[in-house]
């Protein structure tokens, strides 16, 4: 478990245009610069929002990453819910899901 390094990767990607370029051109090379577990590397290689959420990535970091990947808002919320279903409860960090995976907005329910 290296949540610190995993979040640091995303923090630097979110705010840095150079890191974003390298992400597009050479993701394995960029990942190599961080002290990540195999599971974390796989999650980043796949852009697996659900697993990253379960690993404990702060939503304020994950949300920016999802936007960078072009993931639409309601899909982003669903990916986290699916991640919980598949991988179980959030393992680390400050977030724990409290709502049992249901939506809190009419806008999403009425889709």
């Amino acid at each position: 478990m290296s949540l610190y390094h995993l979040q640091k990767f995303l923090f630097e990607l979110n705010r840095g245009e150079l890191a974003q370029e390298k992400y597009r051109d050479d993701l394995p090379g960029l990942l190599h610069e961080y002290d990540l577990t195999d599971e974390e590397q796989a999650a980043l290689n796949a852009g697996d929002i659900g697993l990253l959420y379960v690993l404990g990535v702060n939503g304020q970091i994950l949300m920016h990453y999802a936007a960078f990947l072009g993931i639409e808002w309601f899909d982003y919320l669903n990916m986290m819910r699916e991640g919980i279903k598949k991988h179980g409860a959030v393992r680390d960090g400050v977030y724990a899901m409290t709502g049992g995976g249901s939506s809190f907005t009419d806008e999403e329910k009425n889709r």
Partner: protein, 274 residues
């Protein structure tokens, strides 16, 4: 001259980025009108520079070196760091107020050990407020941050002391300074619980805030806040600092829990400066 305005407002990214998804259009427009009133109040006060006390979300500060408090003294800032289409705010170059910021930082340091920064990339936590409060980006901005994101967080009583220090600092410069604290009340942003709002908790907090009741405002523990108001509730720190700076009673101009698509109880308020 002095602190000429102190208020609070919400900053959730949905306020701009998900505006097109809102079903309750009337409520959204009422909220935007309250923000426009806040812009007018700040302009009418003859503001030379605007301090934005933010709760930034890992755009600049990270757990490698996390300041409890930070004051921006840069020439210019850039933002938002988010995808402009996602946030529905174009990337901007925003004027700073380095000279005023430096004098304010020096004065604050007499009582609170604030960090300072000449570089700062704004995220939605500042970019959304500026979108409404200075849409032409012609008002010099002094960004200020309180650590509301990466525990251990700045203790509430230190946020109060920081607000008082900012007030003393504003009163020590000849320019007219306005200040806004921007945070959420209860919310679970960017999580599967996005849209959840604890309205009774919000209203109780806002009651304490409008009374500017120091003891009641500082009585929360982080455990309680997390349980009742989510991790977004930690951002009450910015509201508390704005109340401490003003020292007067609050006027709640707008609050609704009826726009959960914005993922926060949307709030606009101002304080008497006494």
């Amino acid at each position: 001259m002095s602190l000429v305005y102190s208020g609070v407002l919400s900053h959730a990214p949905g306020i701009t980025g998900r505006a097109h998804l809102v079903e309750n259009i009337d409520k959204r427009e009422e909220f935007y009108a309250a923000l426009e009133q806040q812009r007018q109040d700040i302009a009418a006060a003859g503001t030379d520079a605007l301090i934005v006390i933010a709760a930034e979300h890992f755009a600049n500060f990270f757990m490698n070196n996390m300041p409890a408090f930070c004051i921006g003294i840069g020439d210019r800032y850039e933002g938002p760091i988010e995808d402009p289409e996602w946030l529905a705010i174009e990337k901007q170059s925003i004027p700073g107020a380095p000279d005023i910021g430096l004098r304010i930082a020096r004065e604050v340091m007499q009582t609170v050990d604030t960090a300072y920064a000449q570089e700062w990339k704004f995220d939605h936590g500042i970019s959304v407020p500026l979108h409404f409060l200075t849409p032409d980006y012609d008002l010099p901005i002094i960004p200020v941050n309180i650590n509301c994101q990466g525990p251990p967080l700045s203790p509430l009583h230190r946020c109060w002391a920081f607000g008082e220090a900012l007030r003393r600092a504003c009163d020590s410069v000849p320019e007219k300074i306005a200040l806004v604290g921007t945070g959420g009340i209860s919310h679970w942003p960017a999580t599967p619980d996005s849209g959840k709002i604890n309205e009774p908790w919000d209203r109780d907090f806002l009651d304490r805030l409008m009374r500017n009741d120091k003891e009641a405002l500082l009585a929360y523990t982080d455990e309680e806040t997390y349980r009742n108001a989510g991790q977004g509730g930690f951002e009450i720190r910015t509201f508390i600092a704005a109340a401490a700076a003003a020292a007067g009673l609050g006027d709640l101009q707008f609050y609704t829990a009826e726009l959960p698509i914005f993922a926060v109880g949307c709030t606009v308020a101002r304080f008497d400066i006494v």
